[in-house]
């Protein structure tokens, strides 16, 4: 027999994981091009607030999603201009992006605290969607969940099967060589950065439109940073990133359910789990220096100075 709570629990894992999938896949693309954008948290929260604000004002989920992505993209554009065109330090600029995003989202979101959004419509195929577990899990999700899975497949295909993916990897591997061969390093990077920004924006949009669905200040609660850790965990491979995202989504939901079962552990201590798990995973992945170096894009985080 399938216990009653199982299906909703699995469904919430999907909901909790989807924002991470978006943000991590976007950041993989960015890092594969050799850029380290630590502003994922800021882009996510801007996506969340923009999507929620548009959703509440217009009532249109589509517009809300589009604006969520757009907000992430605009923030990424600032990052791209600063780091690629003005050659600012990527770490500092990424941090700035996060601080700025948190501040600006709070300012914009001020007027929307307490509003609600009906959530995203879910796919509903008669009979099939009613199958136990599999039905709702595979055929009963909202559009963005399917899109997040599609984005993983797209990223994998793009990176490994297309010429532009090859060029992007080359740029991230050795930007001087790519430049010497004649590839437009900064253009490729800017495209990757903008893609990463819109994906982070989508992740944020999902949070405020489907996960909560509410606007709360600082509602990303470190998910942008966890997405960054997931990129490392996934060794920069989209397929592994979705696995990692669901693992973390699972941990997040698990700790909620353990609290629900009345286990006598303070809820604060249980809430530490996802963060502690992130640290443990990072240690496990990075302790083998050689393997780590081989999977990380070799030009990651280095500023590109086209030789004169």
């Amino acid at each position: 027999m399938i216990p009653d709570w199982l299906t909703p629990a699995i469904m919430t894992i999907v909901t909790a994981s989807t924002p991470l999938v978006f943000a991590a896949v976007g950041e993989i693309m960015v890092e594969k091009s050799g850029v380290l954008n630590l502003g994922v948290e800021g882009m996510m929260i801007m996506g969340a607030v923009a999507a929620f604000a548009i959703g509440v004002t217009t009532g249109s989920a589509t517009l809300a999603i589009l604006f969520g992505a757009l907000a992430g993209l605009l923030l990424a554009l600032i990052f791209g201009l600063l780091t690629l065109n003005l050659r600012a330090n990527q770490v500092a600029t990424g941090l700035a992006l996060t601080l700025f995003g948190l501040g600006l989202s709070a300012l914009i979101g001020h007027a929307f605290v307490g509003e609600t959004f009906p959530g995203l419509p879910k796919l509903d195929i008669p009979i099939i969607s009613e199958f136990p577990i599999i039905g709702p899990l595979v055929f009963g999700q909202d559009f963005l969940v399917y899109m997040s899975v599609a984005s993983v497949i797209f990223a994998g295909w793009f990176l490994n099967r297309t010429r532009w993916g090859l060029v992007l990897r080359a740029v991230g591997e050795n930007h001087d060589a790519a430049h010497a061969i004649g590839h437009p390093v900064n253009f490729v990077r800017m495209m990757a950065v903008l893609f990463g920004g819109s994906m982070a924006g989508l992740g944020g949009a999902y949070l405020s439109l489907a996960y909560t669905p509410l606007w709360v200040e600082n509602m990303t609660a470190g998910r942008g940073w966890i997405a960054l850790a997931l990129v490392v965990f996934a060794s920069w491979r989209p397929g592994r990133a979705i696995f990692g995202a669901y693992l973390f989504g699972g941990i997040t939901i698990l700790q909620l359910h353990v609290q629900g079962f009345g286990v006598a552990i303070a809820p604060q201590l249980m809430s530490m789990l996802p963060y502690l798990a992130t640290i443990v995973v990072l240690v496990l992945i990075s302790h083998d220096v050689n393997r780590f170096k081989l999977s990380a894009p070799a030009s990651l985080g280095k500023t590109f100075h086209p030789s004169q």
């Binding site: 010429r163 591997e173 060589a177 430049h179 061969i181 004649g182 170096k293 081989l294």
Partner: protein
Amino acid sequence: MIEPRLELTAITKQYPGVLANNNVNLKIMPGEIHALLGENGAGKSTLVKFIYGVQKADSGQMRWEGKDQEVSSPNVARKLGIGMVFQHFSLFDAMTVEENIAVGILPELAKGDLAHRITEISRQYGLPLDPKRYVHTLSVGERQRIEVVRCLLQSPRLLIMDEPTSVLTPQEVRELFKTLRSLSEEGVSILYISHKLQEIIDLCHNATIMRMGEVVATCKPENETPRSMAEMMMGANLIAPERPDRRTPGPVRLTVNNLSVVSSNQHGVDLKDMNFDIHAGEVLGVAGIAGNGQRELMDALSGEVPVDAEACVIIDNHKVGRSGPADRRNAGMGFVPEERLGHGAVPEMSLWENAFLSGAQSMSLLDKGFIRNRESADYARNIVREFNVKTPGVENAANSLSGGNLQKFIFGREILQGPGVIVVLQPTWGVDAGSAAAIRQALIDLAGTGAAVLVISQDLEELFEVSDRIAVICEGVISSPRAVSDITVDEIGLLMAGISEPSSSAREATDGH
């Protein structure tokens, strides 16, 4: 009349502070192998980058097969039929040979069964390559083949080769020349950039010689001698370093015992059971092709990568194998690494801070943890004066100095600390001839004061100038050192290729040296 394949007229390029190309003219005919000769910094690279569309010129004109032509990017160059093999390979370690080639050629060419075509071309020109291998698993020579095959796949009509032989053994060089000659017979023009004179005489039909951004001469290399071309290149008569008569070597100062190091770097070379020693007053030269363990040997001797057993490295009876650089300095060692900016010196820091960097202990520039600024500056001024470093003052940053001047400063810094043992890697790489001569002289003089000197270099001429004995490093193994007087270039070449028994058939190969 046959149109020249490439004709450059009055190319000028100004960088901040440097006139890199001044009114440069160049003409290459179909099938011609044309040498572009000059010292580091003479402007060869700038000119070539312009031809290949990597960089723009301020003024001047380029004609390609009789027509005015703008080359705005390497893609345009490739479409015209210009291929280039870079000195610093444009390769991507974490990608396969096939991917490396695909990313560097026109998209149309990359379609279809590329792997098959790679195998075919490489067979046709005797450049064996496995398309599925990852680049980081390949030797330097194999990596160069990728670059060459990448060009050949595009059926170039002009092939530019930037210092292609600095990474090859004399034997590999001969193979490469065969390929180049057969390309020339097929009508491919080749622009061959080098400062190795004998090679140019062996290979090239014509030569253009550059100095300080200008063309100073053109000649037919077959009518010249290495010496006459060197004088054109440097604009002065060559001065060979003065060497005192052969001394009787003093006591052993540096001993290397059973030194084995497993490289921590995936792409690195393991050192295997090295044994040698250097006496007081002696210069030991270590020859070898780049990437055969020179860096690892340097790291193991400098202590940047300490080794397992204390007795592996002994300086004047001090066992220092497990010590780091600071302790080894205290024991009397000095080091000059290969990379000036970022390793031997901190680019953004002033000269006096850089003097302090390695001299803190031995020149007592530290007082209870605090830096003695005035003494450090005095020390730096001393270096500048004694080693003729051209700089406005010791407050200037290291990266404001030219390569040669900074290298002199770094050598001065180490030598003035009076080391008993000094280890230097590629001492004159990218240094102007004047500074190079001064540095070599300084090394010989230092040995004259009773120090033991180890010079690791890829420049054979340099090693023959300064060394008393020469050993060869190949794949992390060092040959037993032999006196310069009884080892030939040819034997060294075979050792460099990892062939330990010299065979008589290879004897005539490098006669011209």
